[in-house]
Structures are given as structure tokens and as C-alpha cells.
């Protein structure tokens, strides 16, 4: 097949930083005012483009952290060797302008109407929790009774993003942590990387026809998706989004 470039309707627009919240020592949420934003779905992302004084450009994708209808928010983890995240987590000021393109994505999206009452299995590795949080907020917004289990793999409790929100998770939402590096005294939860035994304990039985969303670093996503398929989940019921070795999707 041959292809040629065609001008799409999705273009870069200048967004303004309206609010900022620190989530952990390395993670910050930015609320953006995006002109002409046509609304988004839970699970979608947007692209951010920064242009240096010398014209050098860097582009990154970030999951949208807010539910449909809420102001656009992204949650960014600082990577010390990153080109974009140090600016977004440290240097950016309220009122700063950032180039944004979005919303993007139709695959890693929870569609409550289409997906019906299927129980949700959400699995997050580190900042992979961001698009899953948008799904949880969307569920709450809808007053949905779809049962949800969120398995959140994170190095320590201090690195849990949205901790207070997750602690107050509503009826029908179970949040299960696995703390892979550091556990508080008396911790009785999981304390290892995700494996098939853990997935067998946490995942909804296949007979309930669950729908799984898995987001995180590539090796995490590969492990979880592989385990779920081994447990009998049909591959098309396991939606995946990978953000490589480092960085936020």
C-alpha cells in the first residue's frame, strides 16, 4: 500500500495551565484549559509538544486523568533524564501555555454503554494508573454498579498516585496493592512483582466475562496480559497500553 499525508482535523492548540496538584514527590497533576476541547472518553490520552528557544521540539503522550466532562487533567511522573517531564513537574507555572493535541485513542477506552455490566479488572504498573483513574471517576460519575478490581503495582506506598482517592473508593471497587520494593511494618498485602498466582487470586473468573485494562511499563503489561490469557481471558477482552521502559503513556 502507498500512503500520502492528509491534513486531519486534529491540530495542535495552545492550552493554559489552570491548576497543579502534587500527587507524590515525583508526580504532579496539571489541569489544563484547552480551547475547543470536544470532550474525551475515559482511557484516552493527549500529546504535548514543547518547543525550545532554538526550535528543538519534543513530543510526549500523557493519559487523561479526568473523567469525561471534567476539566482536562494529566498526571505526569518526573523522569530525571526526561526532556518534557521535568518541565511539567517542576518548572511549569500557573498560566503557562503548552501545545496540546487530543483527545487521542479509541482502543484503550472504557465505553460503559457498549461494555455493559462486564466486571472490570484494572491493572496498573506505576503511573499506568492514570487512565484507569479516569475510568474509576467515570464510573462514579455515572453511578454505575459495575464491579471493579484495581490491581496496582507500585514500589512503595509513598509512590501511590491518587492515594486518598483510592482509599475512599466507592462501593463495588476493590483496590489491591502490590508493593514491590518497600512495605510498611505489618504489611500483609502483596509484596512482589505481579505473577500468575497473584493474577489467579485477583482476577475475576473468566465465567463472569470480565473486561481487563492493563497499563504500565512494557514488561509489566506483557506479564499481566500473558497471565490473564493463560487464565483463559480471551485476548480481545484484555486491552493494553504500554509506555516503554520509562515515562508516562
Amino acid at each position: 500500500m502507498a500512503g500520502t499525508a492528509v491534513r486531519g482535523r486534529l491540530t495542535w492548540v495552545t492550552a493554559t495551565v489552570d491548576a497543579m496538584m502534587d500527587e507524590t514527590a515525583h508526580v504532579r497533576t496539571l489541569v489544563l484549559s484547552v480551547p475547543g476541547w470536544g470532550g474525551h472518553q475515559a482511557g484516552q490520552h493527549l500529546d504535548i509538544r514543547l518547543t525550545g528557544d532554538d526550535g528543538y521540539r519534543a513530543e510526549r503522550s500523557y493519559s487523561i486523568a479526568s473523567a469525561p466532562g471534567e476539566p482536562v487533567a494529566i498526571t505526569v511522573e518526573r523522569l530525571d533524564d526526561g526532556e518534557v517531564s521535568p518541565y511539567l513537574t517542576q518548572d511549569v507555572q500557573l498560566g503557562d501555555e503548552i501545545e496540546v493535541r487530543g483527545p487521542i485513542g479509541g482502543y484503550f477506552v472504557w465505553e460503559p454503554v457498549l461494555d455493559g455490566d462486564a466486571p472490570l479488572l484494572l491493572a496498573a504498573g506505576g503511573s499506568g494508573v492514570v487512565p484507569l483513574r479516569a475510568m474509576l471517576r467515570h464510573r462514579m460519575q455515572l453511578g454505575s454498579s459495575v464491579p471493579v478490581r484495581l490491581l496496582y503495582s507500585v514500589r512503595s506506598l509513598a509512590e501511590v498516585i491518587y492515594r486518598s482517592e483510592l482509599d475512599e473508593a466507592s462501593d463495588g471497587v476493590a483496590v489491591i496493592y502490590t508493593l514491590t520494593r518497600q512495605q510498611p511494618p505489618g504489611w500483609t498485602g502483596y509484596a512482589r512483582r505481579v505473577d500468575q498466582q497473584m493474577m489467579a487470586e485477583v482476577a475475576w473468573p473468566v465465567a463472569r466475562e470480565p473486561l481487563a485494562y492493563v497499563c504500565g511499563p512494557t514488561n509489566f503489561v506483557e506479564a499481566v496480559a500473558g497471565d490473564l490469557v493463560a487464565l483463559g481471558y480471551p485476548p480481545q477482552r484484555v486491552k493494553t497500553e504500554r509506555f516503554g521502559a520509562t515515562g508516562t503513556p
Partner: protein, 86 residues
């Protein structure tokens, strides 16, 4: 399907680029590998991003399906081994 190595992205990562090029959401589009015949959604392809451009490969046979290179502000697209995309 082969497991992806650490650091490799998937087709979600090129969603914005594809909307810009094709004018519509493409991560749910179904591509057929012209080499091994694997049928899969764009979101499930293996994506390698580098300064010089972006490459999408088949998850099964690793053949190059799509190449995107930006030259002087124009994105060149090569859908070389993609038998179909719809």
C-alpha cells in the same frame, strides 16, 4: 503473539500521529500483515520511536508494517508490508 521487550511501545503511542495523517482515529483500525497474514488492531502493533522516525512492526513475525519519517515538516508514510488497513 511474541512478548514485547522492555521499552517497546504499542500502537496507542502513534494515535495522534495517525489522526493527523489520516484524519480519523486509527488505533482500532485492523491491519493485515502482508508477510505472515496476522490480523490485528493498530493499538496492538509493536512501535519503535526514534529521533529519525517511527516504525510499527507485526507482533508475530516482526516485519515492518509502517514507517513514518518527518522531513522538513512533511511526514512521509510508508505502509510497506501492510496488506490492508481498514
Amino acid at each position: 503473539m511474541e512478548a514485547l521487550e522492555d521499552g517497546v511501545l504499542d500502537g496507542n503511542a502513534i494515535g495522534g500521529l495517525l489522526i493527523e495523517l489520516f484524519g480519523t482515529e486509527m488505533t482500532t483500525a485492523v491491519g493485515v500483515c502482508g508477510s505472515c497474514g496476522t490480523v490485528g488492531q493498530v493499538a496492538e502493533m509493536a512501535v519503535y520511536q526514534a529521533k529519525m522516525g517511527t516504525v510499527a512492526r507485526c507482533r508475530v513475525c516482526d516485519n515492518v508494517l509502517m514507517v513514518f519519517v518527518e522531513i522538513r515538516g512533511i511526514t512521509c508514510v510508508d505502509l510497506r508490508v501492510l496488506a490492508s488497513l481498514s
